[in-house]
């Protein structure tokens, strides 16, 4: 065998090994423990990713059908997250940047006369969910801290379950949010759905908008 062939062979083997290593599931890639089950989102990998977009959910029930508009039973949001696939010293798969603006229009969620408005003040972790096959383009579990704009209540931890199940996003993609600490005037807050109404539990199906997953950035 010529030296060049040998070199090409070694290079190819090395490349395959590198790819295999980068794809191996990392069982340490866990977000900060937040005390709640992750339902369908159980297994994660820490790798470069990006999820962008916005949308609408009609929760409850969170199906692909809109509620009657006069019920005001819907939520609208914009959100994105980026991560490089790096762990911090605590083993957290850190996010590089992100944002969340969430508005819950339900009458029972009004605070100080306005729809509940949650605004992320930091996005700290983001990890790829590898056990949500219905999210055909990608699924991400991410979160950080937020502020309740209605009251100024700060430093509440939140987590998001984010699912891109193809195009268009309406009727296919999913989104869910859980705030860990109680919200003043509301208490425990989460918008999560059962598996029969969404592409991947606990996400709720979008009735408008789109989630766009990018494997790298």
């Amino acid at each position: 065998m010529s030296p060049l062939r040998s070199l090409a062979g070694v290079t190819a083997i090395g490349a395959i090994a590198l790819i295999a290593a980068s794809c191996e599931a990392n069982r340490q890639a866990l977000a900060p423990t937040m005390g709640a089950p992750r339902f369908h989102f159980f297994e994660f990998q820490c790798q470069p990713l990006k999820m962008t977009g916005g949308g609408r959910i009609d929760y409850p029930p969170g199906t692909a059908d809109k509620n009657p508009p006069a019920s005001h039973e819907y939520e609208t949001f914009g959100a994105h997250v980026m991560a490089s696939g790096q762990f911090d010293q605590n083993g957290v798969c850190v996010a590089d940047k992100g944002a969340l603006e969430w508005v819950d229009h339900r009458p029972e969620m009004r605070v100080n006369g306005s729809p509940l408005n949650l605004h992320a003040t930091s996005v700290t972790f983001a990890e790829l969910a590898v056990d949500a096959p219905h999210c055909t383009d990608g699924a991400v579990h991410w979160g950080g801290t937020l502020r309740v704009q209605n009251t100024g209540q700060e430093n509440l931890h939140f987590e998001v379950f984010d699912c891109d199940a193809g195009e268009p996003g309406v009727g296919q993609d999913g989104f869910a949010i859980r705030v860990i600490e109680p919200i003043d005037g509301i208490g425990h807050y989460e918008v999560t759905c059962e598996p029969d109404v969404s592409p991947a539990e606990p996400t709720c199906t979008l009735t408008g908008g789109n989630r766009q997953f990018h494997p790298t950035h």
């Binding site: 062939r5 990006k50 916005g54 508009p69 006069a70 609208t76 268009p168 908008g209 766009q212 990018h214």
Partner: protein, 213 residues
């Protein structure tokens, strides 16, 4: 042997380099520019020119928001709890989503009222739609209208007309105006007869635009 090595190198390059070129050129071809903007209320007349709240996707960012608890534009429009949220990704242009939502809305002293407006425009390279848009408890000139179809026009005698759930295809996207009032005044002939109408202003409540091209 030397010739064989050269041939092997050429074969190797011939196999590998085209793969590199293909992925790069495909990425370049697929890269597009998304645009996203949204606003709650916009009034444009000879004496009033006001838009609030408004969000436009800025270069280098993936989201922009604006919000106003109360919007009052002269004696033309009042609105509560207005939000404008826009999203997109300028780095790879894969998609854009814009949303404008409002609570109670009163246009032209009760001529048009609603208590929940959602304008939503979503665009990808393959698709643009206004899914998610809605009007709640809409009353136009005393008549309740449930969930008007896209581009529903209702005349407003003495004022002009309104287009409800206005959906305008654009290059690579869509603009959605949930309530678009066109203010008109009659054009008279020398004898005072009406020979037509001219537009003297526009009132738009709940607007979302997104595109990818």
């Amino acid at each position: 042997m030397k010739n064989e090595s050269i041939r092997a190198a050429i074969r190797f390059a011939g196999l590998v380099l085209p793969l590199t070129w293909t992925s790069g050129s495909l990425a370049a071809q697929m890269r597009a520019t998304p645009q996203a903007s949204a606003y709650g209320v916009s009034v444009s007349t000879a004496t009033v020119n006001q838009t609030s709240p408004a969000a436009v996707l800025p270069a280098g960012e993936m989201m922009a928001t604006d919000q106003a608890n109360d919007v009052t534009v002269a004696d033309l429009v009042t609105a509560q709890n207005a939000f404008a949220i826009v999203n997109g990704d300028l780095s790879d242009g894969s998609g854009a989503v814009s949303t404008a939502t409002l609570g109670a809305v009163n246009i032209l002293n009760g001529l048009i009222t609603a208590d929940g407006v959602v304008a939503m425009a979503s665009s990808t390279v393959e698709n643009a739609n206004a899914e998610g848009s809605s009007l709640a408890s809409l009353v136009v000139n005393g008549v309740a209208l449930d969930d008007p179809a896209p581009n529903t026009r209702v005349d407003l005698p003495g004022t002009g007309y309104v287009v409800l759930n206005e959906q305008i295809p654009t290059s690579g996207g869509i603009t959605v105006n949930m309530i678009h009032v066109v203010l008109q005044q009659p054009v008279l002939d020398l004898l005072g007869g009406v020979i037509g109408y001219q537009t003297i202003g526009n009132i738009i409540v709940g607007s979302a635009t997104s595109s990818v091209y």
